[in-house]
């Protein structure tokens, strides 16, 4: 009898929760644009995940406070904790997609790969900003996936181009050894095909040093191998606890830091600071602003942080990964605004959002209008190109903070684009029957 009562009570509570969920969904559908954020503030990758989550949240929250949202419609923000785990990421997706989600930002290549086949079916685009499947830049094959402003292959090509510049020309890479240390997961393995192709073309030797996820904080073997192999340059695709540990280990074996270059995700302030004085000279790619001196960031401080509506420590506004999160939300907000203009609707759907993303044009004038002049390179998405292959720059750690160390560098588009198209074709064949694009290009 007691069990029966508990069961009845449990059922009533569950029904109540379910009903509340339905009601809140209905409410969201009526007067807000719902943006779920797949974030990770816990677990081994939280060190990288927290500043990005804060940046994403704070910019959208600032728009709600300052402007009443986008186009007069507030953005309903809901975070779902993935722990950088693909299974949990898919659970978050399934749990939130029915609430009218406009777009997903998985912040994990593993989760992105899981969501790619679902996006077209559920009609909700995926924005994997500077990560995920590089081939997804081919809009003809992947109309629902966007990886603007750059793919990993763009990033890898910029690093090789930059190294070539240091050596006096790409032709001088012949006979050089370039080491590649990477998180042994979908993320870290993604640029290998391009690096191998470039190694073949320019005659350098690519030496690979995989770091298993469980060994992120135990990399002495990888760096002993580096010490023995003596690569001329080291390239890193690290994330979470891997990046600071790698920088510490590089310092430990006295690897010349000015020849150690990380991708834009290995560019956290905490990553570099872990190496102390010895980390001076460490370099990383970047495509979002350096520092906190931008009017939009001041608005975040004023409307969100100082009012206690954020979990961000004021000092971390302007850090590389925080700014990266902000840029991600700038793209979301601008895509919503574009979608509203294109469809004439204020409250939009995932399908409308796809149109907004595909017609995104974040030019210099618009960046200035947003209070983000110089925060990012202008970017434009087209039907054909969802990545954009936009220029990125190299930043250098001076022992206390990052400083821009190069001009904007164009990726090797002529090398990358044919490979992206071949990879997209290959993906479609391996996942046959992959649907043919039926979505029209926005006007």
């Amino acid at each position: 009898m007691r069990n029966f009562k508990q069961l009845a009570l449990g059922t009533a509570v569950a029904a109540g929760v379910g009903l509340t969920g339905i009601l809140s969904t209905a409410a969201q559908a009526q007067d807000t644009n719902y943006v779920p954020l797949l974030t990770y503030r816990t677990g081994p990758y939280a060190g990288s995940g927290i500043p990005i989550a804060n940046g994403m949240h704070d910019y959208l929250a600032m728009l709600n406070e300052r402007d009443g949202g986008v186009g007069g419609v507030k953005i309903a923000i809901e975070e779902c904790e993935t722990g950088y785990n693909a299974q949990k990421g898919v659970e978050c997706y399934e749990a939130t997609k029915g609430k009218g989600a406009l777009v997903y930002n998985p912040y994990s290549t593993g989760i992105t790969l899981q969501l790619i086949p679902k996006a077209g079916v559920d009609k909700i685009p995926v924005l994997s900003m500077g990560y995920g499947l590089s081939a997804a830049a081919v809009g003809e094959t992947f109309p629902w996936i966007f990886n603007v402003p750059d793919t990993y292959w763009d990033g890898a090509s910029v690093i090789i181009k930059y190294i070539g510049e240091q050596e006096g020309g790409l032709e001088n890479l012949k006979g050089k050894k370039i080491g590649y240390i990477f998180l042994d997961a979908g993320y870290g393995r993604e640029p290998i095909p391009l690096l191998e192709k470039l190694a073949e073309k320019y005659g350098f030797e690519l030496m690979q040093y995989p770091v298993p996820g469980a060994e992120m904080q135990n990399q002495s073997s990888q760096w002993l191998n580096v010490r023995r192999d003596r690569p001329d340059y080291m390239v890193m695709w690290g994330w979470g606890a891997m990046s600071p540990t790698a920088i510490k280990e590089a310092v430990k074996i006295r690897y010349p830091m000015d020849k150690f270059i990380g991708v834009w995700w290995s560019a956290g302030d905490d990553d570099a600071a872990a190496g102390g004085e010895g980390a001076k000279g460490y370099k990383a790619l970047n495509f979002s602003g350096v520092g906190g001196d931008f009017p939009a960031l001041n608005d975040i401080r004023k409307h969100v942080i100082e009012t206690g509506n954020s979990s961000t420590d004021a000092a971390s506004v302007g850090s590389t990964l925080y700014n990266r999160g902000v840029l991600n939300s700038v793209i979301i907000a601008e895509a919503i605004r574009t979608a509203q203009e294109k469809t004439g609707k204020k409250v939009i759907t995932g399908e409308d959002m796809r149109i907004g993303l595909e017609a995104l044009n974040l030019d210099e004038a618009r960046l200035e209008e947003l209070g983000l002049k110089g925060f990012a390179h202008p970017m434009k998405v087209t039907c054909e190109d969802h990545g954009g292959s936009n220029p990125v720059f190299v930043q250098e750690w001076d022992g206390k903070q990052w400083r821009q160390a190069s001009d904007w560098i164009e990726p090797m588009t002529d090398e990358v684009r044919p490979l992206l198209e071949a990879a997209a074709k290959d993906y479609a064949e391996k996942n046959a029957p992959w649907p043919k694009r039926t979505e029209p290009c926005p006007d």
Partner: protein, 317 residues
């Protein structure tokens, strides 16, 4: 192929003796750190027969408490003392809330309880300290930083990190202290009695609850030392919990009940995985050390199923 497996690695060792010595040193340091983690598991297993799944998170929790207190303005040494106090409170709490109600329950229940404790400490730690990695307060604690390089021959170089030397010294001191504690003190002998037979120990007036609290506290201290040393090598983050499970092959090898076993097992695994990775790993693309440790442990098990120093249990039917 045969040359690559059987000849080339030894040629490399001969050609680059400085590098070989560096590999041995790194293996030694890794082994010492694995041994420290394994020691925490052994202490609790000896006293209660429980595989403490929470040992890894205790390492993180202790490290985070120390750094977190210091970040909040508590001087380093006071933070260290307070952290020891926190680990004492944790030990008392675990004994009262987790262990005592589960006396005489099957071992699998106790294992499940430690898994529950793990998730509690993860959530509690993240709630109190946040999920961001923190820098270990190495210098404030007076631990050495920097490195010393020894030149060998024309190009040879061995680099010894001062923190690694300190880790080795502290680990040796901790093992010695635990050895004296277990063998020369009344409580230590009582603990060994509990480890041998709970009921017999109870019948001669040994308080099981007191022993469990003490042993969890000792495991907490070992966790704190491990957290400081490993945190100084990378940083203090929840990813350290995963590293703690590097102690599993050490336990398989050394036996779950032997302190010398933890030390010798740690060193064998440490040397084995570094030498294996550096000289044979390249044959299969590298990254073999995460599973090589288990292969080494399993090979030893073929010859000594109870581990190197584990107690041989013979059950007569």
């Amino acid at each position: 192929m045969l040359y690559d497996i059987f000849i080339d690695p030894f040629v490399q060792m001969y050609d680059m003796p400085d590098f070989f010595l560096q590999v041995l040193w790194e293996g030694f340091v890794a082994g010492i750190l694995y041994a420290l983690i394994a020691l925490g598991f052994v202490l609790i297993f000896k006293a209660s027969g429980v595989f403490n799944f929470a040992q890894g998170i205790m390492v993180v929790f202790a490290g985070l408490t120390l750094v977190g207190l210091n970040e909040n303005g508590v001087p380093a040494y006071l933070a260290l003392i307070l952290t020891i106090g926190v680990m004492g409170v944790l030990a008392y709490g675990v004994e009262r809330v987790v262990m005592r109600p589960l006396v005489n329950q099957p071992e699998i229940i106790l294992l499940m309880a430690t898994i529950g404790l793990t998730y509690f400490l993860i959530g509690f730690g993240e709630f109190v300290f946040g999920g961001e990695p923190k820098q270990m307060i190495t210098e404030q604690l007076g631990l050495p930083t920097g490195s010393t390089a020894f030149e060998i021959g024309d190009r040879g170089l061995i680099i010894l990190q001062h923190i690694d030397i300190a880790a080795a010294v502290i680990a040796i001191l901790m093992v010695a202290a635990l050895g004296i504690f277990f063998n020369k003190t009344r409580i230590g002998r009582a603990l060994r009695a509990v480890a041998d037979d709970h009921q017999a120990a109870l019948s001669v007036g040994i308080s099981l609850n007191q022993i469990w609290a003490i042993v969890w506290f000792a495991a907490g201290l070992v966790a704190l030392a491990t957290g400081i040393m490993w945190g100084a090598r990378s940083d203090v983050s929840f990813a350290l919990e995963i590293v703690a499970f590097k102690a599993l092959p050490v336990l398989i090898l050394g036996g779950f009940t032997s302190i010398p076993g933890a030390i010798v097992g740690g060193l064998i695994i440490g040397f084995g995985e570094k030498i294996g990775e550096l000289y044979w790993g390249g044959l299969v693309g590298g990254g073999i050390e995460s599973w090589l440790a288990y292969i080494i442990a399993l090979i030893f098990l073929l010859f000594r199923p109870q581990g190197l120093f584990g107690e041989r249990i013979i059950e007569r039917i």
